[in-house]
Symmetry: C2
DNA sequence: ACCTGAACACCGTTCAAGT
DNA sequence: ACCTGAACACCGTTCAAGT
């Protein structure tokens, strides 16, 4: 036994963190393992599947209700628990370079049948769950894109503008949008 | 004068519609124009720029307040006008194959400075505008991905399940999520 | 101004063959 | 079971040169 599926996923996450999604090719993951590109296809049918496994790993730490569904958070009301799950999801994605893109693409493919959506649906209903998830994915993607652009701009532009209006409070922006949706859920 | 920038963008949109985003390469766009791939770089600095121009074209028909800002929709309240803009945006993206992906990627890059976001911000505030846009983009992407999967599944699976619960009411799902956000805006 | 021709440095995936 | 070696059919981009 030389490399397991878990080794491949771990190597892929290392390449992702070090080089970003656009450079996370099958060939580079193979190189990270010291193996020929074709060897990866013994563990995984294609790149899309590998990305889905990476997405699962990225969000693996998110707590989706500890015991059985809805039971662990019995002291919290639905909206409050939903808010906690979304915040954890966002943090997990932002912790990995391009994590939001990887997770969003993989989860959009399963919309309607993901663990996170099912759990959120118990808390706030199917429509509320979808709305919260799509907002959370979209905002996380925008956050990482903005940070990437800022990091790149800092290299070439010094920091002559710093922030046109100081208005890149991405965390605050996320929470305020979340508040809007949660408030809307209470009405319906 | 053999080809203009407009010709290049139009050819790219033709390839997109016919072959989808994953096959919309610079080389295929060049072939569509009967030209060498390198010729495209006379009109456009890189592929990303071409995709942004395609995105602009896809949403060009969306009415962002006819006369001056906020004036044309004086008979509508803010939330109602915002709902109309979002629905038009969604329809424009869904009208083109992979349109949601093209527009989302290009717009996420400008989040905080797009025409649509500025207009929506006048109607419902910056946080409301961002929330509505991210939700609308995300839902449109999920819609097109679901349709693509359904079309592909129909080819191999016949239609043995048809719909597990008849629950692929994507348009209804979108509107109900929009209702949640709009209701939340009214509270804040 | 607009394009060709040729090249550079890559991709994902397949497949026979090895151990 | 896991991997190599070689190939196939592609990519985006650059650049000197043509008209």
């Amino acid at each position: 036994m030389r490399n397991s599926l878990a080794d491949v996923v771990a190597a892929a996450l290392r390449v992702l963190g070090a080089q970003g999604l656009e450079n996370c090719s099958m060939r580079r993951v193979a190189a990270e393992l010291g193996v020929q590109p074709s060897a990866l296809y013994h563990h995984v049918p294609d790149k899309q599947t590998l990305l889905a496994l990476m997405a699962d790993e990225i969000v693996a730490g998110v707590n989706l209700g500890a015991v059985s569904a809805g039971q662990a958070e019995s002291r919290m009301d639905g909206p409050a628990a939903a808010r906690r799950v979304c915040a954890e999801l966002r943090a997990a994605m932002l912790a990995v370079r391009d994590g939001a893109d990887v997770v969003s693409t993989a989860s959009a493919f399963r919309l309607g049948s993901s663990l996170a959506e099912d759990y959120l649906a118990e808390l706030v209903g199917r429509d509320g769950a979808r709305t919260l998830l799509l907002y959370t994915f979209g905002h996380a993607q925008a956050t990482q894109m903005h940070r990437h652009a800022a990091a790149f701009g800092a290299l070439i532009g010094g920091d002559q503008v710093s922030e046109t209006s100081g208005a890149d409070d991405l965390d605050g922006s996320y929470v305020r949008g979340l508040d809007i949706i949660i408030a809307g859920l209470a009405v319906a």
